[in-house]
């Protein structure tokens, strides 16, 4: 397979999208509802028509190929298993269509079920197993036909939080083991960052950034990406030279060629540190703690700086020392920040 390049324009859902996937790679398409990520997936699967553009898989143009002839395995968000067939029959279905002999079919189906660790449930019906198990069976079914590409349409969205995390890691493990090119659609940025080789952030039918998770997180290409992925503080600042000055701190820029002038800088909460302030004086970096949200190992502390609020993320042990009402001083770690040209400053959230 040669990976795929696709470019077409469709005013409503997808706006001239180009995307190429490496073989064996897992790309997560991330974005809010209506951004076109599911449309992209369905176009690839052949479940919808493209208005313009081409889809190539392994060098072959499959744009005109019907869905049943494309060699792809798809896992849907919900309801994808056939209720009147057992788990094993479900997994073997694609093989049955390909006229594979019954013995071989059963063997392969069981193989796949072992892969997703559900071999013991082979004789059960979908209504008898849990949601998470159903999705694993769906995965087994999609892989059973040895497709060139694996497509997952928000497969974890309908599941409980705990199951979601477990299944997410399991999917990634299997994907790496099998080595199959995968496209994973989700609106949950944690999922995307956790398992993808590259993350594609989409908005309104366009791909805003396509890069490995760490890059998307720490070097967001646009302010939309910065705000969608992870939390961010928007602070007023001024660009001079190759740094931006934010409340007395000089921070390096993601894009050193930003023109000088007033901007809004996007600062991650974990780049902000707090220290108890007993000096009694106010400055651009002193403020009062408003609230503290307990997240487990870390806590998010919201501080009122007078003209704006800022969020900091600290280990909980430190956060508990700074209850609401305490005066604190902030420092911003010099990580590269993204800035946007509009100088309107709004407090986060």
């Amino acid at each position: 397979m040669e990976g795929l390049s696709r470019h077409y324009g469709s005013v409503v859902a997808l706006d001239n999208l180009d995307l190429t996937v490496q073989p064996g790679e897992l790309i997560a398409l991330l974005g809010p509802s209506g951004c076109g990520k599911t449309t992209t997936l369905r176009l690839l699967a052949g479940l919808e028509d493209a208005d313009t553009g081409h889809i190539n898989v392994a060098g072959r143009d499959i744009t005109r190929l019907p869905a049943s002839k494309r060699d792809m395995g798809m896992v849907f968000q919900a309801y994808s298993l056939f209720p009147h067939m057992t788990v094993q029959e479900n997994v073997a279905f694609g093989l049955r269509l390909r006229k594979i002999s019954s013995a071989q079919r059963d063997r392969r189906a069981l193989e796949m079920l072992e892969l997703v660790e559900l071999g013991s449930q082979a004789g059960r019906y979908p209504s008898q197993i849990s949601g998470g198990q159903q999705q694993r069976v769906a995965l087994a079914r999609a892989l059973a036909i040895e497709p060139q590409v694996l497509l997952l349409d928000e497969p974890l969205s309908a599941l409980d939080a705990k199951v979601r995390a477990q299944l997410r890691d399991q999917i990634r493990r299997i994907q790496l083991e099998v080595g199959i090119t995968t496209l994973f659609v989700t609106h949950d940025q944690e999922e995307a960052l956790a398992i993808a080789d590259r993350v594609g952030v989409m908005r309104a039918g366009r791909l805003e950034q396509l890069a490995p998770p760490t890059e998307v997180y720490s070097r967001p290409a646009t302010s939309f990406v910065a705000e969608f992925v992870g939390l961010s503080n928007r602070l007023a600042g001024t660009v001079t030279g190759s740094a931006v000055t934010v409340r007395g701190h000089d921070l390096p820029l993601v894009d050193p060629l930003t023109p000088a002038g007033p901007v809004t800088a996007i600062v991650r909460p974990e780049a902000v540190t707090l220290a108890s302030d007993n000096s009694g004086e106010s400055g651009p970096m002193t403020g009062t703690v408003i609230a503290s949200t307990f997240l487990g190992a870390t806590s998010r502390v919201t501080v009122d700086l007078g003209d704006t609020t800022i969020m900091a993320q600290l280990p909980t042990s430190e956060a508990t020392k700074l209850p609401a009402g305490s005066r604190v001083t902030l420092t911003i770690r010099p990580d590269p920040v993204l800035v946007s040209a509009d100088s309107a400053v709004a407090s986060e959230e």
């Binding site: 099998v178 080595g179 090119t181």
Partner: protein, 292 residues
């Protein structure tokens, strides 16, 4: 995992779009959709004709004059004057009265019981459902055989055809129960009644002023079903030798097969039911909008 060959590839991630290629006239799925729509419209036309033609023919027949090809409303005016025995008009009257009585009795019997069950005797609802669905399994033709001796007793007290309402309520049960059950389900009766009772209302008030007003749509629905049933019911009336509209029409047809009044009366009945349906849906919409 044996059997899956890792693919090769090249790399490119392009954020800016290339100029769009010329628009293709829809893909495979659009073609599929078109084929489906063709089938649908053909089906609707054929079935539509099948269902409409007899109705139209009936109306046309009712407007036919003495010579074929001429028009006349004689069949319609005859509805009022057709002699019996008994006169058509009187059996229409009886049927309409019967419809009203049956509806009232049905509502008074079923609605409070259903609400009561919902609030105080949940376990009975299965029993009620079973009983209400029984008339589907025990057809009217069978029921009337068993009703004959009972009606013999009733006739000693009152010979009017209006006594048919006893049987008609039963016949209407399956349809009205379903409609009312759907309506009651939509109302959170338990919570409402608890709220009302905590404010001091008695059971009667709760039922009448709290729950029933929220079931208006379903009640109107049930009413329509009952009226339609009474207007069209023939078997029980005929075999118990009462004369209702349908029985009267039947007797007329035995004597004069193509009597115009048969068709005009039938068309009128259908029209009446249709108008009721319109009023119901209109009233339903207004009630829905009226509620804050």
């Amino acid at each position: 995992m044996a059997g899956l060959n890792p693919p090769l590839a090249d790399l490119a991630a392009d954020l800016t779009g290339r100029p769009a290629a010329a628009r293709r006239p829809g893909g495979l799925r659009a073609a599929q959709r078109r084929r489906l729509n063709l089938f649908r419209y053909v089906a609707f036309t054929i079935f539509g004709l099948f269902f409409l033609l007899p109705l139209l023919a009936m109306v046309r027949f009712s407007l036919e004059g003495a010579k074929p090809g001429s028009w006349s409303v004689a069949a319609w005016t005859q509805i009022a004057s057709y002699p019996g025995p008994p006169p058509l008009l009187s059996s229409i009257e009886i049927t309409l009265e019967l419809a009203v009585i049956t509806s009232v009795v049905m509502l008074v019997l079923v609605v409070p019981t259903m609400i009561w069950i919902r609030l105080r005797a949940r376990w009975f609802s299965k029993v009620m459902e079973f009983i209400c669905l029984l008339p589907l399994t025990i057809p009217a033709i069978v029921l009337v055989v068993g009703l004959a001796p009972i009606y013999n007793r009733i006739e000693r007290v009152n010979v009017s055809a209006l006594m048919l309402f006893f049987a008609y309520v039963i016949l209407a049960l399956p349809y009205t129960y379903r409609a009312l059950a759907a309506g009651l389900n939509a109302v959170d009766a338990t919570t409402l009644s608890e709220a009302a009772r905590s404010l001091g209302a008695r059971w009667g008030t709760v039922m009448l002023r709290i729950i029933v007003p929220n079931m208006w749509q379903a009640i109107l629905n049930a009413l329509l079903l009952t009226v339609a049933l009474v207007l069209g019911e023939f078997t029980v009336a005929y075999l118990l030798t009462y004369v209702t509209l349908q029985v009267n029409l039947f007797e007329i047809s035995r004597n004069a097969e193509n009597a115009g009044v048969l068709f005009s009366a039938s068309a009128a009945t259908l029209l009446f039911a249709f108008i009721l349906l319109l009023i119901l849906s209109y009233a339903g919409r207004r009630l829905r909008r009226g509620r804050p």
